[in-house]
Symmetry: C2
Subunit: 141 residues, 2 copies
Amino acid sequence: MFSIGELSKRTKVKVPTIRYYEEMGLLPEAERTSGNQRRYDIAGLERLSFIRHARDLGFSIEAISSLIELQDHPDRSCEAATDIASSQLTNVRTKIRRLKTLERELSRISKGCNGEGVSEDCYVLASLADHNLCDGEHQKP
Amino acid sequence: MFSIGELSKRTKVKVPTIRYYEEMGLLPEAERTSGNQRRYDIAGLERLSFIRHARDLGFSIEAISSLIELQDHPDRSCEAATDIASSQLTNVRTKIRRLKTLERELSRISKGCNGEGVSEDCYVLASLADHNLCDGEHQKP
DNA sequence: TATACAATCTCTAGTAGCTAGAGGTTCAAG
DNA sequence: CTTGAACCTCTAGCTACTAGAGATTGTATA
């Protein structure tokens, strides 16, 4: 059994974040010492690693909740899990596509001014003021 | 002079968002009717278009504040503006790089399970539980 | 001109996923 | 037994909005 600080060190998840995950129901309520401090075992460590890994891959807390729910029921169909993963993949791909559009546009705008003039003549500012100077549409990222 | 609703329609920025921008200091305090409703002119429309355009390109409110500050002083050097734009470009490129790593990993994981089995045997869940099943490291997105 | 009703006003609170700080208690080493 | 780091709970703050309550205003139509 080890403390929350030790768990934090081993998983690289910050202490307040661990408490937050517990509050959100991602982690079960930890056992406590007589003095009310949290104590964890290997199972706790594994679960937190799972969560961290999923967060690193961009899964939302809600999605992770569902994944954990499935993990806790080894006999259930894993269709939901593959659905969550593939929709996350779709999310990521959508974001990449949008960011690439932004990148092209920003790069084009950036090249338009070397920063040596005054703002009145700045192509960066002019581009932002006038959408017509843009190549195409951009959506919110 | 037109109402906030009209401005919203023309710029495709939602009404509460316009008020929020005013509160944040991105928009100057609007003129009011005798009955306290906001009225805008073309200058207001242009400024809001500028803001929306910058937001669409992913600039933060803070960055936009600086850009507007420069826009209001046509005689100042525009170095800050080009700096902001290029650091935004760097941001975007960093995000793309990270997301691409995620994409590879998610795609690999996703392919590992067709969702027809039970969760005990699910490669998606197994991958999340065990980082060793991953190709490489991933950072937070 | 009266009325109806859409649009506006301000204010508060909520979203995601944490992070920071105050003020107090517990654990563990020396 | 003392000391100080680590822990506890609670509240508030971050970004960029969004939603809703309850009250007021603007305007089109009868």
